[in-house]
Structure formats: structure tokens, C-alpha cells
Amino acid sequence: MEEPKKITNEAEAIQMLRQYNDDLLPRKFGIVGNTWTALLIIIFLTGVYCYTNQLRYGLSITGMRDFVFWGIYISNFVFFVAISLVGSLVTAVLYLLNIPWRAPLSRISEVIAVAAVIFAGLIIIVDMGRPERIVNMFLHGRIQSPIVWDVMVVTTYMTLSILLLYFPLLPGIAFCRDNLKGIPKWQKWMYNILSLGWKYSPEQYHIVKKAITILSVMIIPVALCIHTVTSWLFASTYRPGWDSTNFGAYFVSGAFVVGAGGVIAGMAVLRKFYPSYKTYLTDLHFDRMGKLLVLLTVVYAYFSINEYLIPAYKMKGEEAEHLHELFTGYYAPLFWSVQFFGMVLPIIVLLFKKGRKPIPMFIMAVLVVVGAWFKRYLIVIPTMSYLPIQEIPEAWKHYAPTFQEWAITLGSLAGALLIITFFVRFFPIISVWEVAEERGVSHETIYKHLNEGNEK
């Protein structure tokens, strides 16, 4: 499993680039792809339908009530924010660290990030009792409120992520514009508009490189902010289980884990359904991502230990009740499964070389992602039931999401996947020029080749 050799020979490079382009141009879905898309659309539309119900009847269609007033919408929101951090991780951190194998992964992670952050924004609107008043956020925004900080950073991060997806995509769009044959008019028109008149000129190329560097530097603090602020939504209250100074780092480290898991899952799926991608998403990538995931999970485990062990040592009043519920009480089965499947098992499996092959990796990645979703459930929901709860119906004390709530949540997840799916359908999901550059192909060669493609 060695790193691919650098290519210095120009002819060889051109040859390789041609091969790349043939391999990586977006193409029509087969039956599996179409079924998958249809399924997602159905789930998404069911979610939309249920949301119209919610608009009509209010949040009473959900399982939330006073006391447990934040439910799976919020935990799903936290999940989306978490997974969106992968964009900054793979694209920016690895880019700045000059990690040589990151190029083919950067666009996958960035599109996951964009889809997630868009739906993070949407799901928070879904959670609002009065979604039409979102405008109040701008009319009457209070800078003292962590929610306003969150709105600001989510918007900022969304913009940055879209830009970070878009800049490196420009040559790709142009290439699609010039080389895809037999596509409908609207698609051609879309490529035309989106490619911004890309002419493969060195100036344009230079601007793109510059923009990527700026974005990579900037997106890291913003990504930290978005998740830290999201964690402060909880940490700024007095509630046991949320009253923790560790929350920022804990959320961020958890986010990196789920993000890496998301990318691995994406890689595995792409490799499976586009056999030609095997050349680009090699076993090496899986191996490295596996190691990275172990590292990130260990860091996450460190923060989890701090999060649970310090209060558990003290076992202070209400916090004790919360921890008992998690460790041995009502939430214990979920809690321990999440810790085991979402943290311990992936570490163990991925420590072995055999574990870092695509199929086990895919399983582990899915476990990590699902575990992460439920982890957020465990962070958000149990904490809300430890004040004297009296005078309310028994049903209010235990939150269980309703069918419609699930439908909306799943709809949002389907929506995010749909964005990714459509992206894969219409745009090259692996950045040709970045991969080529990584292999040591000089910029001049790349221009030359691209221009050649242009002439074709």
C-alpha cells in the first residue's frame, strides 16, 4: 500500500489526465441510482408533508412538551452541525497540513458539509414554534443570545463551505460544459452559468488557488466557532448534564469523528457504484482515513471521559440523578451501545490493518455515524427531565418522538443525502486537477491538457 508515485514526465501526465477525465466525468444513474434517488425523494416529500401538518397544527404533532421541549429536531440539528465540520477537517486542515492523500476526498467531504449545514439551518427553522418569525432574528436580534451567535456562524459557515466547494469546482464545471455530450439543454445552460466563463487561464487558476488558501485558513476558526457556539446553546444553561465547560471541545472532537465517518461511508459507496473510482479512492485512502478516524475517536474518547468522569466522581445532587439515568437507568442501554458501537468498536477494529479495508471500514463508518446521531440524542434529551416535575401527565415526563417527528427528521436526512446524490449526478465528485497536482503534475501541463480538452 504505497503512496502513488509522482509523475514528472509530461506525456505520461497528459495520458493520466485524459484517463482521469474519462473516469471522473459525471454520468447518468443506473437502476440502483435511480431507485435510491426516488427513495430519497419519497422520504423527503413525506417529511415535507408532515412539516405542512406541523405548520397547520403546531408543534403539538411532536412528542415534545414542556420539560422535554427540545427533541430530535435539536439533536438532529446538532448532528448536522457536527457532520458539517468534516468539510473544514478534510479540506482545510489536511490541506494546510499538506497531507498528500487528501485531494480525492476533499470534494466528497465538502459536499457533505454543504448539504449538512444547509439542513442544519432548515431543521432549526423546523424546530421553531413560529417559523414565519425568523425575520425577527434580523429585526430584533439580540447580540447577547447564543442563538444569534449560532445564526451568524451557521450562515457564515454555510457561505464559506459553499465557496470552498465552488472554487475548486470551477475547472470541473467548465470541463463538463465542454466535454459532456448528449445532455439536456438546461444542464448545458447550468454548466455555462456556473462555470463563470472559465477559460483555463493561469490567472483564473491563480485566483482559485489563492481563494482556496484563504478559505482553508478561515474556515477552521469558523468551524470551531460554529460547533462551539452550538455547544454553548446547552452549556450556557444551568441544567445538570449541560453545565459543562468541556462542551465546546467535546462537541468539536465528536464532530470530527462523525465527519470522518461520513466521508468514509461516502468513499465506500462511491467506490462500490463507480468501479472506475477505485484508481482514485484507493486502499491507501481507506487505510489513512481509518488511522485518522482512530486518532479522532481517541481524542473524542478523551473529552468524553472528562465529560462524564469528573461529575461522576463528585456525584453532585441533580447531576448524580442525570448520570445514574445514563449509566444504569432508563437511558443506559442506549448510552452504552452508543459508547461501544460509536467509539470503542471502531477504535478496536480500525487498529488492525485488516479492519482498514473498504468493507469493514464502511460498516464502522456507518456505526460511527449512527452512533453519533444517538449520542446527540443522549446529550440533548435526558438532561431536561431533572427538575421537580409534578402536576403534569405521566406522558410528558418521558419523551418519545412521534411518527410525524421522525418523518420530518428522516426527511431532513434524506434531503441532505439528496443534495449529495444530485451533486454526484451532475458534477465531478473527485477533483481532477487537484488529484493531478497531488501526483506532481505541473500547472502548465494541467492547463495544457485542459485546453486540449477544450479544443476537443
Partner: protein, 456 residues
Amino acid sequence: MKNETTAVDSVLMNKYEAMHDELLRPIQKTGLAGKIWIGFLFCVFFAGVFAFYTQETKSKYETISLNNYTMWGIYISNFVFFVALSLVGALMSAVLKLTNFEWYRPLSRIAEVIAVAAIMFAGVGIIVAMGHPERLYFLLTHGRLQSPIIWDIVVIITYFVATSLFLFIPLIPGISQLSNHLKDKPKWQMWMYKKLSLSWRGTPEQWKIVKRCITILAILIIPLGISIHTVTAWLFASTLRAEWNSTNFGAYFIAGAFLLGVAAVIVGTFFFRKYYRFEKYLTDSYFDKMGKMLVFLSGVYFYFNINEYLVPAFKMDSMHSQYLLDEFTGKDAILFWLVFLFGIFVPAILPLFKSMLKPWPLTVIAILVVIAAWFKRYIIVIPGLSHPYLPIQNVPHSWTHYVPSLIECMVVAGIFAAALLFITLFSKFFPIISVWEVAEGDGVSLEKINLLSKKA
């Protein structure tokens, strides 16, 4: 092609030969300045010993200004400082090594010797703080596994052994060289070299074992370093005191420790370079890299500081508000903000300018960081203690304001002197730069390295 490499090799070989000779110089003889320095350190150390003797024989009321409220004073804060300092070994030699930052090589031994000295005198520092130092062995006879102090003792001892090995094992080839080449040295010294060199002959088996030891240690020392400082943080975080009631403490302490460690290595590198005239080996480029590291680590440390202070400050409950307000605007404010300025802002911002990455300015910054780091621990440990939950009444005025006594300061100074003495004497007996590691980093093969040591 082959000729070329041999040419390169011979250049390198010459370089390392010269390096050998130069590295032996400080061991061969000590100049006047060196003698004065060592003499001075001895004086301070003995003054510290005398102060400790006074403290133990005379009433503690007269000798130290601790009291029933501020029961942990500068002894403990100094202990935390030393533990933090000791983490540099794990950072420089292990983290950088494992993440393939090759430039760590000439600095690793400096870092390692600082780490050993620090962890050794951290242990001494905690004995000094005990009421009954002669009962230290009770920890073995009556140890309670539930107590964080026992955890701390266990990890400190383990870390001490691990760091010592990490210092010693790469030193073995060097020692064998010393025993081969040093002249005019007292018998005992030569005998010591002989014994310590463990009959090193540079056989491939020996090399293999050394390499394996180093790899295992590099992996082992990271979790050890993390746990030693996390457990030290838990000494505080496991109490019910408001000012320490923070799940963030582990990561916060570690981030601070890494920053301090890098600063300490900068200072050490600077002085060794200056007084042993190692400019050729410890070039400006190292300062450049270390300066960038300072920026990065200050950023990380800043992140944890934000979480540590802003999350409770947003809530401002009565338990936290007393000491927080004292620190932000009250009686501890000047110290607090100075520490923030020199401990975080200065190292985060100044090295961003190229001119600040030169040895002199960077060393000044690093010294500021070290001093600020010492006072940072003072701020973490002491001010909060004077704001217990129940009011302090009917006590002598001095009990409400802790000011370290002369004896305490002398003991702490003695500990510092002892640590510096250890480092200085080490450099007088052993080479402070590991030649074979540097050579290996340049791609020189092990046989050549063996050859080198024999030839010289």
C-alpha cells in the same frame, strides 16, 4: 547517480564528524561563565534546602503563609507548572516524531532533558507541600485507589521512568562514543560512561532494539503525558469548589502545558546555542518553526481559555461570580490580564511577524510565556481558594490574603535551581544534541553512523 550519493554522503560525513567534535567541547571543559552559573545554581539550591529544613523544623506558622482557607499555595501551583513543563518531552519527541515532523530531531534531547528535570522536581515539589513528608511511604502502605492523588503518584512515577528511558535509550550510542573519545576525564566519569554505554557496539541487533524501544516509547509516552496532566487537572476538578468545578480542566491544562513546553524548548535551545556555540546545528530555521508552533498552540490554548472563563461568565452564578469578577476586574485583575497578555496574546500574535521569528526576539517572547505560565498556575490554584461557599470570618487578616512567605519562595527557587542544575550538569556530561538522530534524519544509513563513531 551513485557517485552523486557518495558525494553527498561524504559531505554529510564531514559535517557529522565536525559536529561530534564540537559536541564534545562543552563536555571537555567548562568556561568561567559556566562555572559561575553552576556555582550560582548550587547556592540557590542549598538556600532552598536550608529553607525547607527551616520549614520542617520550625513552626509552619512562622515559615509559610498558608492557612486553613488557602491551604494550597505556590508549592502546588509550582508543582502544576513543573508537571506542565514535563509534557514537552511527550510533545517534541513523540508527537512530532509520530506526525513526521522531521525537524524535531536536534531539539529532541533538549526537550527530553527538560522533561526529565521537570517531572523529577515536580515530584520533589509535591513532597515539599506535604505536612508530613516523612509519611510519603504511607501512599504505598495505605494507598486508596479512589483518590486522584494516588492516580497522580502512579502516573508521575510511570511518566518519570518512561521519560528517563526516552532520554537514555537514544543516548546510548552517544555515550559509547563519549567513552571512546573523551580524554583527560576522571576515572569515575569514564567508568560511568562505560557502564552506561551498555557495551554498545552498534551491531544491527542493538540498533534494532534501540529503534524498537524508541518507537514503543514514543507511542507510550503520549497517553502517559496526557494522563499525567489530566490527572493533575483532576486533583482540582474533582473537588466541589466552584472555581475548579470544570470538566474542561484536563484539556485546558494540557493545551497550556504544550504551549509552555514549546516556550521552554525555545529558551533552552537559545541558551545552548549561544553558550555552547551550536549555531551551526541549532539554526534560525528551528526558531522559525518553533515560533509558528507557538502561534498554533496559543490559539488552541486560547480556545480552552474561552471555554473555561466565558461559559461560567455567561451564567455568572453566585458561586462563580465572586472569583470571576475578582479576576476580571477585581483584586486579581492585573495579574490575570497580564498573564493573558503575555501567556496567550503575545505568543499568538507577535510570531506572526517574520522579524519576531529570529532567535533573540522569539526567546524574549518564550521567556515571557514561561513566566506567564507560572503565574497562570498561580491564578488557577490560589485566588479561588479565598472564595469558599461559606464566608470567611473571625480569622486573622492574613488568612484572607495569601502572600507567599520568604521561605516558600526560597524553596520554590531552590526547586527551580535544582531543575536547572540537572539540565546544566546533564549537558556537561552528555551531548545535548543527538548526532545519530540528526544524521538519520538526513538519510545517513546506520552503518555509516557506526563508522562515524568509530572513526572519530
